[in-house]
Structure formats: structure tokens, C-alpha cells
């Protein structure tokens, strides 16, 4: 089982969608939100995914298909 952490940013049109819940239903991963900030037009969440690595990859792809951007928890580390 892998535990991977990501910073997820929601698209404006997805702010009112239960996206993290949906991903937990659609893929065999456990999602654990540790910190988040959701406002009228923008929102993000720091989330730990637990599961098989390949399944987590599929879940991340699922997030991207829903319009989310997915970054490492550290954000940009290439300087």
C-alpha cells in the first residue's frame, strides 16, 4: 500500500461538486483531506491517497479529467 500526498486545485465550475468523494467512490483509494481552502471561485485541498500505486495514478488521472490540477504536496520544486 502506498501513501502519496498531493495538492489538488479545483476548477471554478467544480467548486460545488463533491470531487474528492467522487474519486473515492470511482477508484479503489482512500482519500484523507488534511487541509483545504474552498471559496466562491477557487479552491484547493491537500490530500493523502492510500492504495495501490497504479490505482492512485488512475485516481489522479480521474481528477485531471474532472478539470483539477494535481501537484506534489511541495508544489513546484524545480528551481
Amino acid at each position: 500500500m502506498a501513501h502519496l500526498r498531493f495538492h489538488i486545485r479545483f476548477p471554478e465550475e467544480g467548486i460545488r461538486q463533491p470531487i474528492i468523494y467522487q474519486i473515492g467512490r470511482e477508484y479503489n483509494v482512500v482519500t484523507d483531506v488534511r487541509r483545504a481552502d474552498v471559496r466562491d471561485t477557487t479552491g484547493w485541498a491537500d490530500v493523502e491517497f492510500t492504495g495501490d500505486t497504479a490505482e492512485i495514478e488512475r485516481a489522479l488521472e480521474g481528477l485531471r479529467k474532472k478539470g483539477c490540477s494535481v501537484d506534489p504536496i511541495e508544489l513546484n520544486v524545480v528551481e
Binding site: 502519496l4 487541509r35 477557487t42 501537484d71 504536496i73 520544486v77 524545480v78 528551481e79
Partner: protein, 416 residues
């Protein structure tokens, strides 16, 4: 008792031992070093600093290392140049350039942060250091690792320019060219840092690494005669440099080196990658990530890790932020070179361009002591100005030809 008290989460305040960790296990917030300021206050003094080495290590009491076996012993303590010509051009009475174009050994401010990171990494027992970089950071990590006999891995995107790859290869690190773009390298390095027992300077060593930037604040204050400037202009990539200069100024107050901090912090970005400045100008306390498109590649971080904290520090200081076009970046590089004889890389052009704007807008006033941070050498980004500098005057090898082309005055002055 150690001068380092703990690593502390910048969000929830949870404390951790001073090891190679960077994310809070509770809320995933970033960690930073917390010091025993009361104890440091007893040990530090202006005289002790002034009697110290001519490097950033003269501020050892406020840096997150335990011993004195430094990697990068000559980093820092770069000139604070009184920029009379540029000041006169812009209309500022007392303007200074903090000139990190001559930092040792790789001519950028990264030598400060890397010296701290690798010194701490070695103290923590690491034998392999690494970084993900497209330029200055890779140069500095590779050079410092070579001098310290550390194994070194540098991860770069597959489409990086040949000249930049060469600048790393000369130090013979393991240069790993990842088949993918910036985001792919970013993701891979985050995962490798989590899996391998390496010191990734800007990932698991980041809490220590970032502290090196404070020395720019310490040196500025000392070089101004133990006074804080009224205004500073700082280039922003991740935003870390700006937040650490702000932290450094306050630490000097905490430990009794100065009485007050009255500095306004101003952030500078290029328009093609300005998530932090855009948020500031829109009055937001959060930024929206962007895909960078600018010649100022050393500032091209579209999803900056310290963007939120940079906004906060600037607001606390009652400072400002702005951004400039690529054309203004080139103009800024030329202006600095032609008035002060300092050739800056593109980040320097961003700083000078924004300085110019802030003066024009009346945000920086004529009588305010102002410091502009120039963080890298122009020899690193010559391609940015190649079309803007003109050509030499070509003549036949004869005195007649020379005098025909140059109308010389009595003292040798003249025009071509």
C-alpha cells in the same frame, strides 16, 4: 541547548525534531526552523559578527547548522553597492544594489541557500545530495557537492538548453535528463525524495536551505551601518527569498542587533509568470497557478510554494508588488549595466524594471533608503540580451579609419 529549538509547521504550529523532514504530518503544511532566540541573544553581538569571517557564516548564530565544518565557506558577504548613477536616473537619493552576481562559487544567491543546505545535510549524515533544477540551483549544488566530496544527482527536464546542461556537467554530478516537461520532473523528484535516503536540497532539506536567504537581510543591515532600509525590491520565484528576508530582518530585532524594522518589502515578477504579483494587485490573499512564459527563467515558477507567505509578508510590511514585460526585463538589465557596471541575469532585469515602476508610481519615494536585490550574474543568461546590445564598430586597421569613425575630444571622450 541547541540554538535550533525545533522544526515548526507554518500552518498548525506542531513541532518536530530538527531532522530531514519538510512537511507537517498533521496538516501537510510546510516546516521551518524555530530558534531559541533568548539564548542566541546572549551569544550574538554586532562586534562578534564584525569580527567574523568575510562570508555569510559571520551570522552563524542565526543559521540552522550545529558545527563549523561548512560546505561553501566563502558564500555571501557580497558588496552593497551605492548606486549613485542609477539612483540619479530613477530619482532616488540613496539607492543600493545588493550584488549577488559575484557570489561564490557560482555567481548567484543560490550559493547562500545551498551552502546552508549541504552543511546541514552533511551534519545529518547524508552522503548524497540532489536537486531538481533548470539553472542556478543545479550549478550551485553541483559545485558545492564537488568541493565537499558528496555524491550529487541533478534532475533536469529533457528539453533544457545545452549551455545550461554543460554548466552542470563540468562539476561531474549525475545529471539525470528526464524525458518529460517541467511538471514531470517536478513530480518525479517529489517521489524520489520520499523514497530514497538522499538530501534533496529544496525538498526534504528545504527548511534549512531556505534559511540561507536570511543572510541577504543580515548583510544589508550591517552594510548600511546596522540600519534597516526603508524599501527593498526582491525578485520572486517560489517567494521564499522574500519571506526569508522579512524573517531575517525581524530576527535581528529579536536578538537585539537592531531596535526596529521599518522596511517595506516589495516583490518583483515577470508578466509571463506573475502568480504572486497578480494576486497582490487584485487584492487577493491567494494566487492562481500559471504556466510560465518569460525570458526570466530563473523566476519561472508557476505554482510557487511560498506564494501565500510572500503575499502575507508584503502585506505585513505595507509593501507592494508589480511585474514587468520581457522587454522591460531586457531594459532593466541594460540600465543596471550601463549605470552601475553590473551585468545581471534576467531576474535582475525584473528587479530593476519593477524598481523603476514603483518609483514612477510614487510607491518608493525620493528620500527613502532603497535596496534592490540582484540575485544572479548576466553571463548566465546572455541569450536574453543578444539582440539588444548592438554590434561592435568595425574598422580597417589604420589610424585614419579609427579617427574617421570616432570623433575624439581632447581627453579621449567622443562618439562613434
Amino acid at each position: 541547548m541547541s540554538k535550533m529549538k525545533a522544526l515548526v509547521c507554518r500552518e498548525c504550529g506542531k513541532e518536530y525534531p530538527t531532522k530531514a523532514i519538510h512537511v507537517c504530518e498533521m496538516c501537510f503544511g510546510p516546516l521551518e526552523v524555530k530558534y531559541n532566540y533568548d539564548e542566541i541573544k546572549q551569544a550574538i553581538s554586532r562586534k562578534k559578527i564584525e569580527d567574523g569571517p568575510d562570508s555569510m557564516w559571520r551570522y552563524l548564530d542565526l543559521l540552522p547548522v550545529e558545527g563549523t565544518n561548512f560546505v561553501g565557506p566563502h558564500a555571501g558577504f557580497t558588496p552593497l553597492v551605492r548606486a549613485k548613477n542609477l539612483g540619479a536616473y530613477l530619482g532616488i537619493d540613496e539607492l543600493y544594489i545588493k550584488n549577488d552576481t559575484v557570489n561564490h562559487p557560482t555567481l548567484s544567491f543560490k550559493d547562500r541557500v545551498v551552502a546552508v543546505a549541504l552543511t546541514r545535510a552533511r551534519e545529518l549524515g547524508f552522503e548524497t545530495v540532489a536537486c531538481a533544477s533548470t539553472g542556478n540551483l543545479a550549478n550551485s549544488v553541483s559545485a558545492h557537492a564537488a568541493s565537499a566530496n558528496l555524491h550529487c544527482y541533478v534532475f533536469i527536464p529533457g528539453d533544457l538548453e545545452a549551455a545550461k546542461v554543460l554548466g552542470n556537467l563540468i562539476y561531474k554530478p549525475h545529471v539525470v535528463e528526464v524525458e518529460g516537461n517541467y511538471d514531470d520532473v517536478n513530480r518525479l523528484c517529489s517521489e524520489i525524495a520520499g523514497e530514497h535516503g538522499w538530501a534533496f536540497v529544496n525538498i526534504n532539506i528545504r527548511p534549512y536551505y531556505a534559511e540561507g536567504s536570511k543572510t541577504l537581510a543580515f548583510e544589508t543591515v550591517e552594510q548600511l551601518g546596522w540600519k534597516t532600509p526603508d524599501q527593498v525590491v526582491i525578485p520572486m520565484a517560489s517567494g521564499s527569498l522574500l519571506t526569508k528576508i522579512w524573517k531575517g530582518l525581524h530576527e535581528m530585532k529579536y536578538v537585539g542587533l537592531i531596535d526596529e524594522v521599518r522596511t517595506k518589502i516589495n516583490g518583483a515578477q515577470a508578466e509571463g509568470c506573475s502568480p504572486i504579483s497578480t494576486a497582490f494587485k487584485a487584492g487577493r490573499d491567494f494566487f492562481k497557478p500559471v504556466k510560465p512564459k518569460t525570458i526570466a527563467k530563473s523566476l519561472a515558477i508557476g505554482n510557487p510554494a511560498d506564494g501565500y507567505y510572500a503575499l502575507k509578508a508584503t502585506a505585513e510590511s505595507k509593501g507592494s508588488m508589480d511585474m514587468v514585460t520581457d522587454e522591460e526585463v531586457v531594459e532593466g538589465i541594460q540600465l543596471l549595466a550601463q549605470t552601475e557596471g553590473i551585468f545581471a541575469e534576467t531576474a535582475g532585469g525584473v528587479t530593476i524594471g519593477v524598481l523603476k515602476k514603483l518609483v514612477k508610481q510614487g510607491i518608493i519615494k525620493k528620500n527613502e533608503v532603497t535596496v534592490a536585490y540582484i540575485t544572479g550574474n548576466g553571463l548566465k543568461t546572455q541569450e536574453a540580451v543578444i539582440d539588444a546590445v548592438g554590434r561592435p564598430t568595425r574598422i580597417q586597421p589604420s589610424l585614419v579609419a579609427f579617427e574617421k569613425n570616432f570623433k575624439l575630444g581632447k581627453n579621449g571622450g567622443g562618439e562613434s
